[in-house]
């Protein structure tokens, strides 16, 4: 059967993108000192979207000082209950501007509107709503430890879930009484700046949240400043290690949410059709730009061939194209550098002699698109099995016994997430217990919730975001 969908595009105008954006410092939008700007593009068609202020070292200092004085002044004195009410307000206003935020997110980052509309934006609001309620209840989270705010926290977030990552960072930090300087990724600053507008509209006291935009230099000056008591970073393991090195010898608190290379294990007793859906969602969600993506499929030998056929059949129905089209399953690769990196890994697989399957999909002529890809018969030592690709590319290995599956799953330097499919309860519990990963999905994948802690083992970083455990990252507890 050949289903054809008529295009159902969302209107780009809804995003209401301004020509230029300033830095958000001390409650006001300001130009960068020296007036430098950079351009943000739509990765689906390479069109210019807006000019954004490129913060100088002096601007990051200003932002940090604004956060410092807001923390020592108004924010520290405010009761938890009142702080919480601000967070509830922000959650509500995100919901009110949800459509605009979703379209802007898809335009700037290339992700399908279906995902930004149904996942990124509602989940961002949910995080504010969840942590709002904690603001006046912190002593219940850490009994006998006298929890207190850390002070100024510098937060650096990546381009794969721009608004959602900002919410994951800002909401618990504020609930715990800290003040914030947030640096979005330079590829995707728009929704963080829209969140700054919301924060301004909510009358959050000036300086409590500041947003500085720009490239890696902005991040470096935040990390190396003496002002922040804490650095929270989500991004690559390479940069995470660099930051850990930079803060060596200081008393700065640090949490790192880094890369992953999750094993997705399908056993012969799994509900195979459901597992196919889970595997597709696990690797092709958000073009595979997901740190917890199920990027290594481990199939039990007895079902491997049949499963791969089912998977290919399902992959042929995936719609790759215009992120703003409501039918689109897989949008644009976020940026040119990443596009090249993914192609490099696919070629590396070819050079190693792996069989490559790519959906025979017609890709748009402009912009960065990559068809969903399988790399078959991969060896454990293969680069595409050991290294994070961060794209719609799934390596496939087989195993015979449960022990072999567990060993292969754990035999990488990462430990962020894992998935397992089996209809046998005791087997599921055996495997989930033995997987070295901070998040394990059993008979489901890529599910998230503000109440559910997220974060890695090993080189996937340390610290948790979400849930009661996520509060720990933003509190001084008396030990």
């Amino acid at each position: 059967m050949d289903f054809k969908f008529a295009p159902a595009p969302e209107s780009a105008d809804i995003a209401d993108i301004k020509a230029t954006y300033g830095l958000f410092i001390d409650g006001k939008f300001v130009k960068a000192t020296g007036g430098k700007t950079f351009t943000t593009y739509n990765p689906a068609n390479s069109k210019h979207l807006a000019k954004i202020a490129d913060a100088s070292a002096a601007d990051t200092v200003k932002a940090l000082k604004a956060a410092q004085s807001a923390g020592q002044g108004v924010w520290k004195k405010m009761s938890g209950a009142e702080r919480g009410k601000y967070l509830f307000r922000i959650a509500r206003m995100i919901q009110e501007r949800a459509r605009e935020l979703a379209v802007a997110e898809s335009l700037d980052g290339g992700k399908p509107i279906r995902e930004s509309r149904d996942f990124d934006v509602p989940m961002a609001a949910a995080h504010f709503f969840y942590y709002a309620g904690w603001a006046d209840k912190l002593e219940y989270a850490f009994p006998g430890a006298n929890p207190a705010p850390l002070g100024v926290v510098a937060q650096i977030v990546p381009w794969n879930f721009p608004l959602l990552m900002a919410a994951w960072k800002i909401a618990p930090a504020l609930a715990c009484g800290n003040t914030v300087v947030l640096k979005p990724a330079e590829q995707t600053s728009l929704t963080a700046l829209k969140l700054a507008e919301i924060i301004q509209d909510c009358d959050l006291p000036p300086g409590v949240v500041n947003v500085v935009t720009g490239g890696p230099e902005v991040g470096k000056s935040l990390v190396n400043s003496d002002i922040p008591a804490k650095i929270a970073f989500t991004g690559s393991t390479e940069v995470g290690k660099y930051i850990q090195k930079q803060v060596a010898g200081t008393d700065k608190h640090l949490t790192l949410e880094l890369g992953g290379k999750a094993a997705h294990i399908v056993l012969e007793d799994a509900a195979l059709n459901q597992a196919v859906e889970g595997v597709v969602n696990g690797i092709f969600f958000n073009q595979g730009h997901v740190c917890c993506a199920g990027s290594r499929l481990l199939l039990q030998e007895s079902i491997a061939d049949g499963f791969i056929e089912k998977l290919k059949k399902r992959m042929r129905t995936l719609v790759v194209g215009d992120p703003l089209d409501k039918n689109t399953d897989i949008g644009a690769i976020n940026n040119k550098e990443q596009f090249k990196r993914i192609q490099h890994f696919i070629n590396s697989g070819k050079e190693e002699g792996l069989t490559v399957f790519q959906c025979p999909t017609k890709l748009p002529d402009n912009g960065y698109f990559i068809a969903p890809t399988l790399l078959l018969n991969a060896a454990q030592s293969s680069r595409v099995v050991q290294e994070e690709i961060f794209g719609p590319v799934l390596s496939i290995q087989t195993f015979r016994t449960v022990d072999e599956a567990i060993e292969k799953a754990n035999n990488v330097s990462y430990g962020l997430s894992a998935g397992v499919w089996s209809e046998k309860g005791s087997r599921i519990f055996n495997i989930t217990r033995q997987l070295n990963a901070g998040v394990v999905w059993a008979n489901t994948y890529n599910k998230f919730d503000p109440a559910s802690p997220f974060g890695g083992y090993k080189e996937s970083g340390f610290g948790r975001e979400g849930g009661v455990h996520g509060l720990h990252a933003y509190l001084k507890i008396n030990i």
Binding site: K241, Q244, G249, D251, N443, E459, R464
Partner: protein
């Protein structure tokens, strides 16, 4: 008339994988009393000894973490008993290494009490830090798991210091390499207590030696998941933290933590939180709605 009896002196070696080997190439460091008289030649561990210790700790990890909390608790309690039986010997050794007589006994007794405290946590901490997370449509829970091999720089407070940093690490199912620059004789007599306490070989390994020689290797070892640093100069701390980034080690600087007063949070500092999502069969997939 009989000649005065010649005392039999003890040779202090290292403690690796449940055994007491000499340090590589027989290296020693002399331990002297306050008058400068030689009391013993303690082992001086090398980088190779550290590797052996880490390897033993790595091998022992899965067995130790998978023991029931109740079982681990009993073993820690047994260790407290073993220390109690050697109380006077341990006190004498502290005195020979510079402790005042009254303080020495208090130190040993406090160490016993700290062990008993953590023994009691072994089958309880997960009930305090685990959560069932309210997420719709799935069974979602978070619980604590040990991090792996922990490299510990022992502090200067005699046996109490060693126990207060080691016990919270192993109570939670981690295995350890304890590096003791201070009180090497106490460290090895403590190792003898461990060796007779029902604790499996390799769970705790004790190296006496110089921190300035060993610290870069502790910090950079790929099989060590976490470091517990209890003091030392700023340059050592910075260098260790920097090298720890190579495999994203968890670095715990306890130089300002009151670790001699035991606490749950000292134990949970060496735990990872694992969150598991179990999908729950819905009415539709189970056919009830048809």
């Amino acid at each position: 008339m009989t000649a005065a009896r010649i005392e039999v002196l003890k040779t202090y070696k290292l403690f690796i994988n449940g055994q007491f080997p000499r340090a590589e190439s027989g290296r020693v460091m002399s331990v002297r009393d306050s008058k400068g008289k030689l009391i013993a030649n303690a082992g001086k561990a090398s980088r190779k000894d550290l590797r052996e210790a880490v390897s033993a700790a790595r091998t022992a990890f899965s067995g130790w973490m998978n023991k029931s909390g109740y079982n681990r608790g009993q073993i820690l309690y047994r260790l407290a008993e073993m220390i109690a039986t050697k109380k006077l010997q341990l006190a004498e050794e502290l005195i020979s290494q510079g402790f005042q007589r009254t303080k020495a006994l208090q130190n040993i007794e406090a160490a016993i009490d700290v062990l008993v405290y953590y023994s009691g946590w072994c089958d309880k901490y997960n009930q305090v830090v685990s959560t069932i997370n309210p997420v719709a449509g799935v069974h979602n829970f978070s619980s604590a798991e040990p991090q792996g091999v922990v490299g510990i720089v022992a502090p200067k407070e005699g046996l109490l210091g060693m126990v207060a940093v080691l016990a919270p690490v192993i109570a939670g199912g981690n295995t350890a390499v304890l590096v003791c620059e201070y009180f090497p004789l106490t460290a090895i007599t403590f190792a003898e207590c461990i060796a007779t306490s029902d604790m499996s070989a390799g769970v705790v390994n004790i190296l006496t030696g110089e921190l300035k020689e060993l610290h870069p290797h502790i910090a950079s070892h790929q099989e060590i998941q976490a470091v517990l640093f209890t003091g030392g100069d700023a340059a050592t701390k910075k260098s260790m933290m920097s090298a720890a980034s190579a495999n994203v080690k968890r670095f715990n600087d306890w130089s300002r933590v009151r670790y001699l007063s035991p606490k749950l949070y000292h134990l949970t500092a060496f735990q990872e939180i694992k969150t598991t999502w179990h999908s729950v069969e819905s009415g539709i997939t189970s056919g009830q709605k048809y």
